[in-house]
């Protein structure tokens, strides 16, 4: 017996590693085919997952930055039903307190009303938002999307900024006057005449058609708000800051006010992501199972064709558990090859699209619906790179348990007789 076969050595050793490595290459083609299945699914998983995570990030950021912000303070029940009367009293002092509590964040107050807007030729129902001209650009991308004219400047001026579709529908341009008709906070008739100073183009047809902004002070007067407003909008640098900011703000709230995070403000968003993620994992699951079947088949064959050999070795006194461990080690090595090459190729693919962007037919229409640009840039992060391959690796090892376990029941004499 060679000195190499330590009968009672540790289950893992450099020697068993070398043995496993050599065994793998006894059938190099088979090993490569099995590793090939892993590489294929790893590359595919990396590509798909990085694409998904990339587009979720963009979906969330674009939606939040466009208008809603990360956190809002509102009167209780306002989100469910945007009634004029469900408002925050003395909103400006409270906004100042919120701003003082969150030094890094952008904070702005808003008030909202539905009204009939009329030009000389046309009338439409629209949502009017009273905003703080100096603060709004911090919480929303909309002020930066002015395509003609300028954004609001004077907090008390009779000015309005409208969307490009609304401008076209009303047949108005810069400098034209628009009449507003609606009801004030007290239910009385509210009317005003404002001058169009800017026209924005967000690319979201709904927004461009129906949303217009006025200076907060002018809105207060016109709709008899008496210091009330409807929302304090907080924009943060990232989603991870939402939870700490929420706990900072909670003690500032009076009774009757609620703190809403981005998920509560955009209930469809997280659910759309969840629905997309779960249907995707159903598909990934099938792919991973198919790879696992491939490994199961290969390792089972590899164990069966070595039955005689294993019989001899165990007759010499090597414990079956050691043999089983050897098979698991072989699988782990093979899966590592699949992981390393798959990770490398997948990383290259993701990196390429991360710079070049990805587009496919029909995406433009879908992208517009989810506030996405018409090119998606996959995210290259440890999570998006490793998630898929690590799961594949785990399932490959699981698949090797059955062939390995067969060795535990190995009977040396019968095994040696096997053909």
């Amino acid at each position: 017996m060679s000195e190499g076969l330590q009968i009672h050595g540790p289950l893992f050793s450099l020697l068993s590693l070398r043995l496993a490595w050599r065994n793998l290459w006894r059938h190099s083609r088979r090993t490569w085919l099995t590793a090939g299945a892993m590489i294929f699914s790893n590359v595919l998983l990396i590509f798909m997952i990085s694409l998904q995570l990339g587009s979720y990030d963009m979906m969330i950021n674009n939606t939040l930055r466009a208008f809603s912000g990360h956190i809002q303070v509102q009167a209780e029940g306002y989100k469910e039903n945007q009634r004029m009367r469900r408002s925050i009293a003395s909103i400006l002092p409270l906004t100042e307190r919120v701003r003082a509590a969150l030094p890094g964040a952008a904070v702005s107050a808003r008030a909202a009303a539905f009204a009939l807007v009329s030009s000389e030729e046309r009338s439409f129902g629209a949502q009017l938002i009273g905003v703080q001209p100096a603060r709004e650009p911090g919480v929303s991308t909309l002020p930066g999307l002015i395509s003609t004219g300028r954004y609001l400047e004077d907090p008390g001026a009779a000015e309005i900024v409208i969307g490009s579709v609304m401008a076209r529908n009303l047949k108005v341009g810069l400098g034209d006057e628009i009449t507003l008709l609606g009801s004030g906070r007290d239910g009385s008739f509210a009317a005003g005449v404002v001058t169009v100073v800017g026209i924005y183009r967000s690319g979201m047809a709904d927004m461009d058609r129906s949303l217009a902004q006025l200076p907060f002070g002018y809105f207060q007067e016109t709709f008899f708000m008496q210091g009330h407003g409807h929302a304090i909008v907080v924009a943060l640098d990232g989603l991870e800051q939402v939870a700490p900011a929420m706990s900072t703000l909670r003690p500032l709230l009076r009774d009757g006010l609620v703190l809403l995070d981005w998920d509560a403000l955009n209930p469809g968003l997280k659910q759309a992501i969840q629905a997309d993620m779960s249907s995707a994992w159903l598909m990934y699951g099938v792919l991973i199972l198919l790879v696992a079947f491939s490994v199961l088949n290969t390792q089972l064959m590899s164990v069966m064709e070595r039955t005689r050999e294993f019989g001899v070795v165990s007759a010499l006194g090597v414990r079956p558990s050691r043999l089983a461990m050897l098979v698991l080690l072989e699988t782990a090595l093979m899966a590592l090859i699949g992981l390393a090459i798959g990770l490398f190729l997948g990383w290259l693919v993701a990196l390429y699209f991360n710079t070049a962007g990805l587009s496919y037919p029909g995406m433009e229409e879908a992208a517009a619906r989810f506030n996405l640009p018409d090119r998606i840039y996959p995210s290259v992060s440890p999570l998006s790179m490793l998630l898929g391959p690590v799961v594949v690796f785990g399932f490959c090892l699981l698949a090797a348990i059955y062939p390995a376990a067969r060795l535990l029941r190995l009977r040396p004499v019968e095994a040696m007789r096997a053909a």
């Binding site: 059938h27 088979r30 099995t34 090939g36 294929f40 699914s41 039903n81 945007q82 009634r83 004029m84 539905f114 009939l116 000389e120 030729e121 046309r122 009338s123 439409f124 129902g125 629209a126 949502q127 076209r168 529908n169 047949k171 009801s183 129906s210 469809g268 968003l269 997280k270 659910q271 759309a272 992501i273 969840q274 629905a275 997309d276 249907s279 159903l282 598909m283 099938v286 792919l287 199972l289 198919l290 790879v291 079947f293 491939s294 088949n297 290969t298 089972l300 064959m301 069966m304 064709e305 496919y360 037919p361 029909g362 995406m363 433009e364 229409e365 879908a366 517009a368 619906r369 989810f370």
Partner: protein, 413 residues
Amino acid sequence: MSGSLPVAALSRLAWRNLWRNYRRTLIMLLAIALGAWAMIFMTALMRGMVDQMVEDGIRALPGHVQVHHPLYRDDPSIENSMSEPGAAFAAAMNSPAVTGWTARLRVPAMISSERENRGLMLLGVDPDGEVAVGFEKDSIVEGRWLERIDDSGIVVGKKMLERLETRLGKRVVLMSQDPDNEIADRGFRIVGVFEGTLAAQEEAHVYAGRTTVQRMLNADGEVSEIAVAGRDYRDVGELEALVIEATAGKDVTVRTWKQLDSYLDAMLGVMDGFVLVWMVVIFLALSFGLVNTLMMAVFERIREIGLMQALGMKPSAILYQILLESLFLLALGLLLGNVLAVASVYPIRGGVDLSVVAEGMEMFGASAMLYPALKTDDMILANAVVIVLGILTSLIPAWRASRYRPVEAIAKT
């Protein structure tokens, strides 16, 4: 030995070879079955979702083909309206391709209750015509649907009712603009409440009698939209041609729903592409195992193959034998996969309830109930992909087996 064995004998050989290592064959069978199941089952789910999206979208504003004033889509005001279609149009629509048609006045308006105002689209409709093109009376959850073309009541969405803080039987005021750019308004009693498959629909539209709206807006005999419905929304070519012919010479634009809602049309296209990509991906994941299995089967039998060749079996017969083995394997796996797919679609044919993520599904434009759509075409496609690509892939090991030199092969241990 003649060298060319009859197909029957080759098949018997291939079939027996398949079961020499039954564990390996069973694992591969399971893998193929799982792959085929995944292809068919997932496709049925995705198809079901997109079909539902398109159907909901069409139901939201029925009419597979619609006729408008050329400027109406850009500027949906009363100014861009057309005169009501006459007897000639009605006669032209009397065709088997048309299941129903109607004309509506459709203008932006503001609705006000005692407490709230909202903007929406006011639809002046012919109640019977609307039902003929696809409005479902079942969607009325309270009160009644409009009864006459000059009905003085309105039917509003459930969500809108909540927004306006009003209820059935109450009066609301609708304001819109007449052709002279004057604000026209009129009080209406809410006579019915409808529920849409998507919550957004309930806030977007309010229905009133067409003549009533025409009178309110001083627009007698004017309509904004003619909607024509056919039997199958997928095939609207004939319908479109018919409507174009019927409106020839008039200054109007004819569009199909595909042009009216490019998102839905794009989704249908994306779906077709996705189904094919998904099937090929699953097949590729399978193919590694398939080649591996056949390679191993060939490798174990090198000596045997060499012996057969030495005895005069032609290389082509060996090639066919391996291919037959692969064909049997694929066919059995597919059979199992198809049965599994049908069996797993059957219990959920009544729909899967996804209301946990209803608002997310609404973002996709899909409703919270998912009805799987198992289509023969997709099943055929899945089976064809597996068989055709499977046989092509098997050519590699089969060809290798047929190229062994008898003497070397026999010498191999």
